[in-house]
């Protein structure tokens, strides 16, 4: 079981309020991702849940029981740190067994659980090495191994993939998702990378300056961002945000249209523009088109084989059903 409830949780370091009072419920077995720009308080929030920081106000409940004053070790949560925080002088085996040893399990049970974790994480051949002799991805797996042997109520991950190279990151992303499917344990995952959030989460919590901007499934956030911040943060490449007369034409202060919801034509369309830079990814191509009457270039996604020349004149037409409208406060107009 791992249902975590934050009730008006507030955190201040001295006079600086990093987390204003915040309510959030994380259901048992859910994969929740906290996402937001650097410095918005994601790690702080995770550390509050872990018990590594004391809350300034409010209550944290784990499975209905008040855990606000419970020390970290007693909360039944396991954490994977950004730096992995492996114990450098212990072998992989000892690292993974450490929480079991601290819990006073007998040697046979320790060995059994370590072997099982190593099996799951492909670490069996490395059990006698030290962390210093492993690659980044392997260290990451040891850190995860150390977390899973405890059979915690929930896993906490703090930007676990940020120290890995791009290819490994994709692989580990899948492995962690796979692990979640298998263990069905609550996972709270912190990242500043919206791609990780979109690909892994059951539920995304978008944070800005300690505030929750929106909570929802990846597709909820993609389809109906609650405000301009979420609209700009979720989705890659970013949603095009257009103000001025064009927005006024839709009875809004700002309208947003995603690059994939604009069609391009050489002959006719709503907005006339000039093709600027293009990014060819193979599967897709992104064009940056500067349109008459619109500030800043618009990003447009087309198929990978489409080629347009730099400086060519084109017409863009947004899909009317996919236009997001926002009022003068940046809030979505239903």
């Amino acid at each position: 079981m791992g249902r975590i409830t934050l009730d008006k949780v507030r955190k201040a370091f001295g006079d600086v309020e990093v987390i204003p009072p915040l309510d959030l419920t994380i259901e048992d077995g859910e994969f929740v991702v906290f996402v937001g720009p650097s410095g918005c308080g994601k790690s702080t929030l995770l550390r509050l849940i872990a018990g590594l920081e004391d809350v300034s106000d409010g209550q944290i409940r784990i499975d209905g029981k008040d855990a606000t004053a419970v020390p970290p070790a007693k909360r039944g949560l396991a954490m994977v740190f950004q730096s992995y925080a492996l114990y450098p002088h212990m072998s992989v085996r000892k690292n993974i067994a450490f929480p079991l040893r601290m819990a006073g399990l007998d040697k046979a049970e320790q060995d059994r659980r370590v072997a099982a974790a190593a099996e799951v994480l492909n670490l069996t051949d490395y059990l006698d090495r030290r962390p210093g002799q492993l690659s980044g991805g392997q260290r990451q797996r040891v850190a995860i191994g150390r977390a899973i042997v405890r059979e915690p109520a929930a896993f906490l991950f703090d930007e676990p993939l940020s120290n890995l190279d791009a290819a490994l990151r994709v692989g580990m992303r899948l492995e962690i998702s796979e692990l979640h499917k298998r263990l069905k344990t609550t996972m709270i995952y912190v990242t500043h990378d919206q791609v990780e959030a979109m690909t892994m989460a059951d539920k995304i919590v978008v944070l800005r300056a300690g505030h929750i901007e929106q909570v929802g499934s990846p597709l909820d956030l993609y389809r109906a961002p609650r405000n301009l911040f979420v609209a700009g943060f979720i989705g890659s490449p970013k949603m095009n945000l257009i103000g001025g007369a064009v927005a006024a034409g839709h009875d809004a202060t700002t309208i947003g249209i995603r690059p994939e919801h604009i069609s391009v034509s050489a002959e006719a369309g709503d907005w006339k523009g000039i093709v600027g830079l293009s990014e060819h990814l193979g599967s897709d191509t992104f064009f940056h088109v500067t349109c008459e009457g619109i500030d800043g270039p618009l990003t447009v996604r087309v198929g990978g084989e489409v080629a347009l020349d730099y400086g060519q004149t084109v017409w863009l037409s947004p899909d009317p059903a996919q236009i997001h409208r926002f009022d003068q406060n940046g809030l979505r107009i239903a």
């Binding site: 872990a50 018990g51 590594l52 020390p71 970290p72 070790a73 949560l77 396991a78 954490m79 740190f81 950004q82 730096s83 925080a85 492996l86 114990y87 450098p88 002088h89 212990m90 450490f98 929480p99 601290m102 819990a103 030290r130 210093g132 150390r146 405890r150």
Partner: protein
């Protein structure tokens, strides 16, 4: 331009330093070896100009056969070992203490380091006359205040007293090295251990202490080198009596008090051998600790 040219130029430039250092070591070493095989008693008129009589291993046999030899080796090891144990244990504790944030941290750190800047002779004199004097010493006052009979530290607990004085001098060094080591410990490791269910003592034992392993070895190694040759502290306080005659002190007595340079030199060679045995022994442990 790392050419042949540059390399030979570098060699030429380094040569003076290398030659100076070699001479600095080799000349006294050779002379000690030479004297140790000769009869050299200046009071009897022996001198290098007149030529010294070659006596083979006689000095070596006499030095080791003397009743003071084994006790002096014992005293040396006892004092070195005692100081090492005290400075390492207290050094670790002090380092942990000084690593905590507290008011006046800067000043306290300087105060802790201060004894290191006091000359050995001065500190020994201060300890002897101010602290340990059985009549006027601070400790005597304290003992009387507590209703006990003051202790004649330097005669009744002489070895312990020397260990105390020398530890006081070397504690700052150990603390300083261990403090920098503790500061380099990754906080997340401690937090991870905390989440893994390790209470404070277990965190110290399983995380902090192994992290300090290297620094402790370095402290032990460097201190041993200097402690094997402590002299002033003994000269000023007990003059080598009451079981505080170390090997170094015994050699000094043979050369200066008995005016027997040959015998003293043989003792010097034994001291070199002892130092090397200790060094090899230590290097083994260090090697194990430094290799990872």
């Amino acid at each position: 331009m790392a050419t042949q040219h540059a390399r030979s130029a570098a060699r030429v430039m380094m040569a003076p330093a290398v030659i100076l250092l070699l001479g600095w070591m080799l000349v006294p070493l050779t002379m000690t070896l030479w004297f140790s095989f000769t009869r050299y008693l200046p009071m009897r008129g022996d001198s290098i100009e007149r030529g010294l009589d070659w006596v083979g291993f006689e000095n070596y046999v006499r030095f080791i056969g003397s009743s003071s030899f084994w006790p002096s080796v014992q005293a040396t090891l006892l004092i070195v070992g005692g100081v090492l144990v005290i400075t390492v244990i207290l050094g670790v504790l002090l380092a942990i203490l000084l690593d905590q944030p507290f008011w006046g941290q800067g000043i306290v750190r300087i105060l802790v380091i201060a004894p290191f800047f006091v000359m050995p002779t001065v500190s020994a004199l201060v300890w002897k006359n101010m602290m340990m004097d059985p009549v006027n010493g601070m400790l005597a006052h304290l003992w009387r205040f507590l209703g006990m009979t003051p202790v004649s530290w330097l005669s009744d607990a002489s070895v312990q007293s020397i260990i105390l004085i020398v530890s006081w001098q070397w504690l700052p060094f150990a603390t300083l090295i261990l403090l920098t080591a503790i500061q380099s410990l990754d906080r997340e490791q401690l937090e991870a251990a905390e989440m893994d269910g390790a209470p404070v003592m277990a965190r110290f034992w399983h995380i902090v202490l192994p992290h300090l392993g290297r620094a402790i070895t370095i402290v032990v190694l460097i201190q041993t080198i200097f402690l094997l040759s402590i002299f002033a502290e003994i000269f000023v306080t007990t003059g080598g009596s009451f079981g505080t005659r170390t090997l170094t002190y015994l050699i000094f007595q043979r050369v200066v008090d008995s005016q027997n340079i040959g015998l003293g030199s043989a003792g010097g060679v034994y001291a070199i051998i002892l130092a090397n045995i200790v060094a090899i022994f230590l290097m083994r442990i260090v090697g194990k600790n430094l290799d990872r």
